[in-house]
Amino acid sequence: MGFDIDNYLTGLAKNNVILHYKGNVDSEVINHILDTVEDKMVQVNEQAKLRKKVYNVLVESLQNLYHHVDKVPDDFEDQTSEKFGLLIVEKVDNGYKIITGNFVHADNIEKLEEKIKRINRSSHEEIKELYKFILNHQRISAKGGGGLGLVDIARKTGNKLDYTFKKYNDKYFFFYLNILVDEREQV
């Protein structure tokens, strides 16, 4: 059985997919996706508070892909995308689901997973403190990321980071991040 990114996604995203993108994540693509999703939320008169949260989380998700994706495996179908990523935005009952996917080299998994686990075992108050600590103490990396993207996503949504690593081969995994942005009152 081969590896199929989309098959896995069909299981994750159910009905109201408002955007589905797979390919190179450059600045232009990010602009286009942000405009499209913002327009769609305005069209359906989504309340400002939720709309802003979704927009913020979408910015961070896309820029996480932009700054951090590893290069694709040599035998992957798309060799032209320098920063290959995948994004699905889906309307769900109380909000929106944002699913991202990207290749992670096996060597980088442990560090990423440790970061997510640390966030997931923190309370909302601890996440706020973690955010402030990183903001004040960590410099912007060579890749251009601030190391705050995932912390910010967890803080703004108030939800745990739901994620999976699917094995592609011995060297590569495909990392899915499944983010729920909903209207639930935060604690």
Binding site: S27, I30, N31, L34, D35, A48, K49, K52, K53, Y55, N56, V59, E60, Q63, Y66, H67, K128, Y131, K132, L135, N136, Q138, R139, I140, G144, G145, G146, L148, G149, V151, D152, K156
Partner: protein, 126 residues
């Protein structure tokens, strides 16, 4: 000092830094992929301004969105203001947030807790 006047774009804010008035403004959206490139000239400008600042400097931050990469650069801007304040000049930051935008209010409070400059949180009621 030449003022800095930058028109806003969908990803970068409108900026007005005028040393003759002592009123500085950053307004709009700040979500560029490379925020250092955008903010470095502002931080450098403040570095020069802090040599001979006006007795009172007012800074208006009126952002609709900003990304985490900008958040570090905005902190660098505030650190320059903190240095001006520390040298016994009056500095005031007005942090604007839209009605119900608790995330933006909290972001302002984050800075207020890190930077030793008086902040005023101002809710924009439509």
């Amino acid at each position: 000092m030449e003022p800095i006047i930058i028109e806003g774009t969908p990803k970068t804010p409108t900026v007005k830094f005028d040393a003759t008035e002592g009123v500085f403004e950053i307004k709009g959206r700040s979500i560029p992929e490379n925020s250092v490139e955008f903010y470095k000239p502002l931080v450098d400008w403040l570095d020069s301004y802090k040599e001979t600042p006006l007795p009172k400097t007012v800074v208006n931050i009126r952002l609709e969105y900003f990304n985490t990469s900008s958040s570090k650069c905005i902190l660098d801007v505030f650190k320059k203001l903190e240095a001006i304040h520390k040298a016994k000049n009056e500095v005031e930051v007005n942090w604007y947030y839209e009605e119900d935008d608790e995330d933006m209010l909290e972001a302002g409070e984050d800075y207020e807790s890190i930077i030793r400059v008086p902040f005023k949180m101002i809710e924009i009621v439509e």
